[in-house]
Symmetry: C2
Subunit: 213 residues, 2 copies
Amino acid sequence: MDRVRDIPLFSKLSDINLKALEKISRFKTYRCNEIVFYEGDAPGTLYVLTEGVLKLYKTDAKGNEIYIHQFTPIGLVGELACFENMNYPATARFITNGKILKINFKKLEKGFFKNPDVCMEIIRSLTKKIKILSQVIHKETILTSEAKVAKFIMENSELFETLKNTQIASILNITPETLSRILTRFKKSNFIIIEKNHQVNILDKVTLNSLFK
Amino acid sequence: MDRVRDIPLFSKLSDINLKALEKISRFKTYRCNEIVFYEGDAPGTLYVLTEGVLKLYKTDAKGNEIYIHQFTPIGLVGELACFENMNYPATARFITNGKILKINFKKLEKGFFKNPDVCMEIIRSLTKKIKILSQVIHKETILTSEAKVAKFIMENSELFETLKNTQIASILNITPETLSRILTRFKKSNFIIIEKNHQVNILDKVTLNSLFK
DNA sequence: CGTGAAATTGACTAAGTTCAATGGCGGTGG
DNA sequence: CCACCGCCATTGAACTTAGTCAATTTCACG
């Protein structure tokens, strides 16, 4: 994916518009762990993630990374800061190698927002983001650690096999110790079995569901 | 405000469009404490708040109201549920008497989203909402209770005079007891003085700022 | 004044983090 | 083959933050 026209957000633009868009944007490749922007950075650039996995997180007073979301292609990143002209509210760091299209927002705004198709795509992207944030709020303000773990097991059991407990804990914004204790409880209560290869086997879906619903 | 044309979101529509819009919408007045929708309700209606103060909150396992936001006119409410076709993620309750324009979303979608002006207004409304949610996340996941109180004092000192401590505590999602203890600490440390009329007098802006920045 | 709501205070509890010690397990190099 | 190393997981104990509960005081206002 090296061409602007391959990005769904812009797929309906005319050739002339695409040419103009190419003038105000450029692709950039990133290595794993490279930062795209820091929480607090000044806005101005809209990012379109085209390759790789981009982790968005905030940093608390103690320096902990508070997990917000992981973006996978294709997704808009940084709209809030651009549209509201405020500093980026979180940090974005690649956790794989990746590629991004960087767009000069001011120039984009002037030229392209008249196009209803582009507008609709932006609206779709914004509502998707609102949904994500709404879920983050639910996760972080309503759910207990136990409920988070139960929810994660029920909704992401496949991921369990591929992730280490430390990574899962990081996604859930709890410590590995807390995760370990909760999993031990679940195992002792016969809600789940964890296989040798770190697969989860859910024995009691009803109870597990009831913990977070 | 009894006419659709008075709502900025639709101010640029033609008379014909306005007539059509009137067909798929209706105003409804609410008394204080009336519920507009509950968390978990099925979507389908887009709301435009035209009068009164509407409180949005989630409910946790213990039945506590988790404060999300208070809307004042004019604002769109319920877009997420409509656009993403998911159940409302929070409850909306009037805390004053008020009035709302209820719009049938399906019909709105068909007829009006082609209009770039309407689109832009929706985008503006969505980004405003993202900003709000982003701030809620910051408040609830990054800030300690002490930091919340410090931030509230620094950014809303005028409100202090008009609100009771119980109301402030509710906005900050902490208990009145916790708020009281923190205010006592701030007073003893000479960060603030609270006057007879419940005005706050900030003595040490530097320290207070450092508590949440 | 007197009454009821709001604020304060102390003791206790609950949830989760932190810190430290221990144990397991896989890969590596002699 | 096995001894060692480093990473991850587990477990216990102390600690921190904030909520809960109850008693008491303060305050606003009729």
